[in-house]
Symmetry: C5
Subunit: 355 residues, 5 copies
């Protein structure tokens, strides 16, 4: 959890707009690809130098510039100058510890989202910050660059000449990016749902300290997931309300759809949290129950054998004058007494429903 | 709980508006019935082909088209084209994992609700998604098609020439559909109320691990019920406020009535939740109480018999010179001591209110 | 709790406005009384037939028509037709399972409130639904008719020629009815306050399973009380804001007074809930404390006598060659050892503050 | 807690505006003092009869009339008539069970506040209701009259010719009264802070049932304190927003200051509540911890001595043919076995970290 | 916690605007430094007397006057007169117990913030109140003066002729001060994050009463941190919304950035709180688990050895006629019985999964 803020303290005392990369350095190289398209034409290429994007800047076609790897500060600075981005925007792109937000800078919008992956190796959730600049006819996306490329399906759709994407503007492209990010949350939720089900079964049937640890981790993952998703609601709602002219009416209808998905994700997270907190109650009461069971066994055994042992002890005393010891039927008699004490105890516990 | 999202991940990466059926396939066949009526005339028939509904499209009478079974994507697509439905609407109809919502598409409204059934076999709640399209003089309803037909009572009312339905527009028809859906919630709540009462009695009198499990299931059902009903409040409130011209003033008064019912359902759910969480507290404190009782029995037995057994042990020692052993009254004396120890212990526990 | 909804399911499938009595049938006969008054004149009579109220309908004096017993559906229907009440209003009057609400039907207002009685026999709270129709110069009140008549004090005030009631309109009459209903809540709260105090004392000093049950019942009563009172706040606030012309300015000042009382009732309920939830914490921690005490007694006894018994057991062994047994001072010596073990154990526990 | 409402039920059934004193009768005599001042002149006197205040009524100087002791209903009624107070205001003044509120009656404002004292004898908080009437150039304050006079410091400031009070209007006087009431809350909070610290130390180091009782009382005091202070926020905020012309702009700045103090008081109460609820968690987990410790001691003792006692018991059996008993080294051997069992048990517990 | 309010009670009864220093006296001397700059010129000096700041008052350059040490009331009073500050502002500056707030006095704004330091010695958080007066072309900052000077980095930036600071107005200077204060919160959060991680590991692996104490302290620190940071949100939001003309549009964009940081701090605090409350649950359930484990060991030992000891006791009885004792194979037989009882008990517990 302190990892949450690691590196953030580096910036204390620096003037605003100072570019410092905060977060893990995921990949070193910065890879810039551009897709330039309109209804009839399509061009895809990878840029070697930042300057190469200048000619694209003012064309009327839709441009999607994707930047993978953001740890190279100089490249980013050049890029920012080229597109006239505010220093605070560049600072925010570099700080991978943002919460989802949208900011309207007049000519362009700055959008920050969180991409979530489920890491099979560590059994945990990995977060990648996706920053987007939505201009009048361009979208620039910044990825930390962790894992393959989740936007490939999107590229395929652009390549398809008949797809809706080709007919619509940069706002629809931004929507499509947001949509594919929100879609990945459902995969995470499915994984978590399975883990919850599994952990619950274990907690009820055969809990070990490890199960408790797993339960604890699930709770914590839910806390972080919630933190990533909650602000999204406001972000998308702000875009949908169409306060900026960058989002046109036709696209806003699609944004409403993403908004619904976000609500559904939040709903599911809250449901999971409810279920998890219910699980702990069940677990605690089942431990108490088991303590009670163990106590009963102990008490039954003690209550049966303590009086008997005492009796045996009495007739093990070495007093000279103990008439019972001399009796012919002393031993059978005392055995009978012992058996009847034992039996009546068992009946007593049966009646008390302890047996 | 993960069932909640099963299949949702299928859609990741697909463009919006792609028609994919999400959820269990309940029935295979798609059955389309149409009721075409106004104050004086009434026609009921079952459609074989989608095209057959085209002539009905622009007539001025009220049409109620009911579609049972939505897993056939092609039929739905044709249908959507015929009535000019937005691709996102069709997508939402197919995704049976929606939360209740209402969306205004100008010429028509899209309404999603959840029908709830109580399944006697599994002792659980089954959910069926009901989608509705409310147009100027038609209502189209989409049922997943699980169980008989809950709208039969409604059909009877339409057939009755004197009923209010015949005199009013499509908005009243939509209201009647919504009303009969909300009505079913009361049946579910009654069932749950009975189960809660039963579980509570068991928890207090004779709880078994099974009771705890039943309690747990109740809590979970409440979580899901809540999730289905809460958004309804906003949905109906939005319709009642009359933001769309499709709902006329006279019908809005009836919507207020449904709204009241919804509030009542929500109230009852919250009350049930309060009662359930109170039940757990009672259960936990009664377990603690019982542990305490068991402990007391054990302690009483041990406290009485341990000193006595020790005493018997002492006079069972084989020292050569133990004068007490030779005494004539040694044995009666020691017996007296033992009895008095036992009795005084019992008095001690009486005074401590342990007995 | 399921009683809450019993009978409600009867209505499923029926068209809105169908008159079905929901709830317990309290009394069979319907008794209609009318008080017709203005500043100078006063007439009181009991009506035999509904038609008799027609002449009163359009007079300019203030009329208070009180109907006791609502299970007779036909009478009610006639009555509704006579005064032009909306079918939904009649339906709501018959359904005694409403939550408090106010509805503005233009010419008249429909108000639902809950009268609360404390039943000494069952030690529980009884609820009676009071419906009111406030028209321009009449008030119609519907009582289920459980217990004497709580409005007698009000009638006395009307009979008194100098009272403020005689000078003011039907809105003041409605206010007076509401005020006398809210006043009864204070009696309930006083009763509950006494029960809480009593239960608390028992829980702390000498809790039995019965006390826990009483505590549980108190909590549940609080849940239901809250459900009856919370919506009242909004109801009265809506009337006070004067959205309807039926309530005049002078009466609105009095409504503010009732509003204050309602807030005070709600405050007290919330305080009671806080106190109750604090009581459970105290109870649970005092049980844990007592378990701890019992455990200590057991442990002290076991720790003292187990080693001693073992020692006695050792010298009770029958080995041929046990030199200690032959010693002259063996027995006194071992007795000394035993005593010193016992004493040092006691000191040990003293130091550990267990004694 | 039921004391909260004692006497309130007296009023059930009475018409609004009926004057009934609700609450403890603190003092019998009613003492009326008047301070009549402006920038240049000052007169102080005690009134014998109500009529004496009539000449002051319409003068342009500022008048502060303070009434101590409100149980004399007739005096109050005369007073109310003299200043034209609404019957509901008089009723509220007599009912010392109000929550803090402000009501605007056009020509004057009615303000109710709670003065809090810490009673050293009962170690509890005493509440005194202070009612205020703020008119254009007068302030009337009603005290229940419990304890000396908390407004003396204020009187001194008025007597000082150079103080700001003398230059400002009646609204500033009202502000000064409110300010000195809110100031007393800080004294209460300091007392409670000390008690919390003390109780916490006891709970952690050496809790007795008495400590738990003290903790419980603290929680309850917090509940009541909160109830007195929370509404204050709204009251002062309403005055500060200047909805009434009685409060002028210059005084409103000072009201903002009182508002800040109120927020600080509320903040501190919430902090205290958080701390108290944290304390209970700590207490409960420390009891559980101690149960665990006690259990360990018991288990260690039992685990060591039960097998040993059994062994001793075996060689105490009286079988004729037990070869070990005849061995020369039987006794030393078995002693060795016993010691090694004991030692190995101790090691086992050491490894398990129970010792 | 009561320290929170210590000294506050000193002021009870005093007129508003009376200057009393509330809080610890951190340093005695008051040190006044002034930085007077615009785009081209820069002057730094330390003032000996208050009068020296008069010439700066009306110049058009930007002035930053920093006052360290606020316990000298006279100096402050002179200062206030010189700059025309409202008495309530001076009172608030002296009261170091404020919650963060912003107040608009027309010509200037008064801002109160909390600086937080982590004290390595006491392992606690130290709070320093920073008051700021933002005028048209000056900023006056008041520090309690605890620890070096956190604004040094800011001074360096002003000295740098090319920095943005030199080009912008006093509002940007105020922003920069606020920004550097909020930045310090991230350091605190990192420290707390580490402590939480450490405490959590200890709680799970090897909890001692000390760990519980540490956990308790963490919770309490979180309560106080929250109290300092929550109001900040509103403060900065109020400034950002630009209700005062003192903040210009260009600076407002930067304020939005600080606002984001504040939200992030609040988010992190809430996350920490969630994690802490989860930790307690885990801790409590692991104690219960351990009690259960200990109980099992005890029960196993007792259940195995109690019957055996009883059996040995039986054959230790001294009855004359006990035929078994005379048998040749009595002893081996009974030994066999004992072993088989022990073994079968072990199997029983294995099957019950207690072993």
């Amino acid at each position: 959890m302190s990892k949450l803020l690691k590196g953030r303290a580096k910036k204390v005392g620096l003037p605003p707009g100072t570019l410092v990369h905060i977060g893990e350095k995921r990949i070193e190289v910065t890879k810039i690809t551009i897709i330039d398209y309109d209804e009839t034409h399509l061009q895809e290429r990878e840029l070697e130098k930042i300057d190469e994007c200048i000619p694209y800047k003012d064309s009327t076609t839709i441009k999607w510039i994707n930047i993978e790897g953001i740890s190279n500060i100089e490249t980013l600075e050049q890029f920012g100058n080229c597109f006239g981005l505010h220093p605070l925007v560049l600072e925010d792109i570099l700080n991978t510890d943002q919460r989802p937000k949208v900011e309207d800078y007049g000519e362009y919008m700055y959008i920050v989202l969180k991409m979530l992956y489920y890491d099979e190796k560590t059994n945990g959730i990995i977060t990648e910050q996706i920053s987007m600049i939505l201009g009048n006819n361009f979208v620039i996306s910044f990825q930390e660059g962790i894992k393959g490329d989740v936007f490939n399906a999107l590229r395929e759709r652009i390549r398809n000449e008949k797809s809706r994407m080709r007919k619509m503007g940069s706002d629809y492209l931004a929507y499509a990016l947001i949509d594919s990010i929100v879609d990945t949350y459902f995969i995470i939720l499915e994984k978590l749902g399975e883990k919850i089900e599994f952990t619950e079964e274990e907690l009820v049937s055969n809990p070990t300290p490890k199960t408790l640890q797993a339960f604890h981790n699930l709770k914590r993952e839910m806390i972080f997931l919630r933190k990533s998703v909650w602000p999204l609601r406001e972000v998308i709602s702000a875009m949908e309300r169409g306060e900026s002219p960058l989002f046109k009416g036709t696209t806003r209808m699609y944004l409403r759809d993403v908004y619904d998905h976000t609500i559904q994700v939040i709903d599911t997270i809250e449901t999971f949290r409810d279920i998890l907190s219910g699980m702990l109650d069940i677990y605690l009461s089942s431990i108490s129950n088991r303590i009670n069971e163990v106590m009963k066994v102990l008490t039954i055994i003690a209550t049966i054998f303590m009086p008997l042992t005492f009796l045996a002890g009495v007739y093990g005393m070495n007093f000279k004058y103990m008439p019972e010891l001399e009796w012919r039927w002393g031993y059978p008699l005392i055995s009978l007494v012992m058996v009847s004490i034992g039996v009546s105890m068992v009946f007593y516990f049966k009646r008390k429903k302890w047996l």
